[in-house]
């Protein structure tokens, strides 16, 4: 079934623009979301991700462009007539109704008997793990339970798209991680397209099939989590997703090859594939993730290249230790993450170390990027 619909997106946004007075909230958004996808809109607060979600839901109008859901133009179609349902950030559980009345709320106008509606609502409650909670008062539920009721209430209508506006931000860390896994499972089970809005990059990486990173009303990059993490197309995206170290470099062309002179690391050959914005001959910035670097202990030798450094700061996390080290001649420290393998000492501040790095793990950005 996925193959039949793979070439045709379920949701298609073309050149969507929106202004709030002088403020350009959405800038030329182009986006295709496939049937059954877990899609995330990720960005810092104020980047327009919630506005975009509300535009798809039908709560916000847009100035130009088009929003299509299942090949149907959504212009002028109000939220109550769209095949989308929303889980609100505050959950928006009706406090004057019981749990089951909340879940069955959307079925009011459905052409089914009262007992059928109750059965559907019960089934939805069971799906989110709240079997037997139907007759509790909604205002007496905990945060996690409200979240589940909100999910059941939206899913009972079997929408084509479920929209989730920062649904986990109000939960504590443990609960949040548990709900992340449950949401992934639930999404696979029901096969409905989920669009999640979040400012938490870790959450987006964990849950999504694809992520659109937004800054200032624009989509900066839209890719699957692994590509986004390994091959960010700009310094800004790289900085937003996980931790990325940056060092200044100079790139020059010699015959058919490109050589980068990196501060503290020395010269290395780079390929065009490592430069998402094209090879920036001249001033450039190289980025690399903390886990692509390794501290070398006595007797170990580098698999690729090595450079001398001094430990500047040590952050111990139990399973991991983060070292901030300074390469020779570089003012800015670079972060290295090391797994705390049994029998390996945690090094102290000021220790002289050798750092192993591999040229293939570098991403090269335009200086201005």
């Amino acid at each position: 079934m996925a193959d039949m619909t793979a070439d045709k997106p379920l949701i298609s946004l073309q050149n969507v623009n929106k202004h709030y007075g002088d403020y350009h909230a959405l800038r030329g958004i182009n986006l295709d979301i496939r049937q059954g996808e877990f899609f995330s809109l990720l960005g810092p607060s104020g980047c327009g991700k919630t506005t975009l979600l509300r535009t798809i839901a039908g709560f916000e109008d847009y100035d130009t462009g088009s929003v299509m859901i299942s090949d149907r133009d959504m212009r002028g179609v109000p939220a109550n007539k769209r095949p989308t349902n929303m889980v609100f950030q505050s959950y928006a559980i009706f406090p004057h109704l019981s749990v089951i009345e909340n879940v069955a709320f959307g079925l009011r106008k459905a052409s089914m008997s009262k007992s059928e509606k109750m059965r559907a609502a019960e089934a939805a409650l069971e799906m989110v793990g709240l079997k037997g909670y139907g007759h509790r008062a909604a205002h007496a539920l905990s945060g996690g339970q409200r979240q589940r009721v909100a999910l059941a209430r939206a899913l009972v209508l079997k929408p084509k798209v479920l929209l989730l506006d920062e649904p986990l931000s109000a939960l504590d860390r443990k609960m949040r991680e548990q709900m992340q896994v449950e949401l992934i499972k639930l999404q696979r089970e029901v096969g409905i397209t989920f669009i999640l809005v979040t400012h938490d990059q870790e959450e987006a990486l964990v849950m999504s099939d694809r992520i659109a990173v937004m800054f200032e009303g624009e989509i900066a990059q839209c890719d699957d989590p692994e590509v986004l993490y390994r091959k960010p197309n700009s310094k800004r995206v790289a900085d937003f997703i996980g931790v990325m170290n940056f060092l200044p470099a100079t790139v020059r062309k010699e015959g058919e090859t490109y050589l980068a002179e990196i501060a503290g690391l020395g010269e290395t050959e780079i390929t065009e594939a490592q430069c998402p914005g094209g090879v920036p001959v001249g001033e450039a910035t190289v980025g690399f993730r903390p886990e692509t670097l390794t501290l070398l202990y006595e007797g170990q030798s580098a698999t690729h290249r090595e450079a001398p450094a001094v430990v500047d700061e040590v952050v111990y996390y139990g399973d991991m230790t983060y070292y901030d080290v300074r390469f020779e001649g570089v003012e800015k420290p670079v972060r290295i993450s090391m797994r705390n393998i049994f029998g390996r000492d945690v090094l102290g501040v000021g220790t002289q170390v050798r750092v192993s790095w591999s040229p293939g793990a570098l991403v090269v950005f335009d200086q201005s990027a």
Binding site: F88, F94, F105, L157
Partner: protein, 265 residues
Amino acid sequence: MKSLKTYAILYLIFLYAPIFLLPLFAFNSSTIIAFPLESFTTEWFTELLTLSEMHGALLNSLKIAVTSAVLATTLGIFAAMAVSRYSFPGQKGIMGFIMLPLVLPEIIVAVSLLIVILRMGLDTGAWSVIAGHTLICTPFAIAILQSAFAALDPSLEEAAYDLGETPASTFRLVTLPLVMPGIISALLISFTISMDEFIIAFFLTGAEPTLPVYLFSMLRFPKLLPAVMALGTILVVLSILLITIAEFFRRRGAKRTGNDTGGFL
């Protein structure tokens, strides 16, 4: 610290002692309102039952109070919704004018309304008192309802709309039940204000006096004074009861929405 405490106590005595005198003399058998007290009697309360003019005034007052309360609360719902859900140019200024009767001397309101009505060649009566009372009750209703609407999460209405309801059915199924405690509380407060309002009623009541106006006219007959005391006692008890009920509903609503924005008590 100590002097502040004394001040607070004296203040409370000054405020409430006269009210405590009311039941004291209402149950006193002497027709003269003075100490020492004579003996206990409920005679004045039974005498109330025989004053048919007073019954007319009471009925008149009830009619006016109920109508004014309903009008003020209805207007209050519209105004409170307009303020909490929309923003439009001149919003603050318009709200300022609507809330102005709260600080405007009632005598000014009463005299100006009387002049307008007479100039228009109309007769005063229950309707003109209702108009005046609606005017002074509306700001109170708005103040209560505004806190009820402010406590209402706007995404609740969006959620109902998102689940397929129309704006009208969203209002009926979600907004109205959730602000209902505020509506009841606004009705009761407006009713109480109208019930014991004197100045506007005195100027605009025409031939059919309201209860406070009737009571004022009775003060000329010392013989009837103890009965007035008895009536006053009943009114005090009823007022306290109504305000308590109003506050109970407001607090219950605040507890439900989990958002207490403070009331009058």
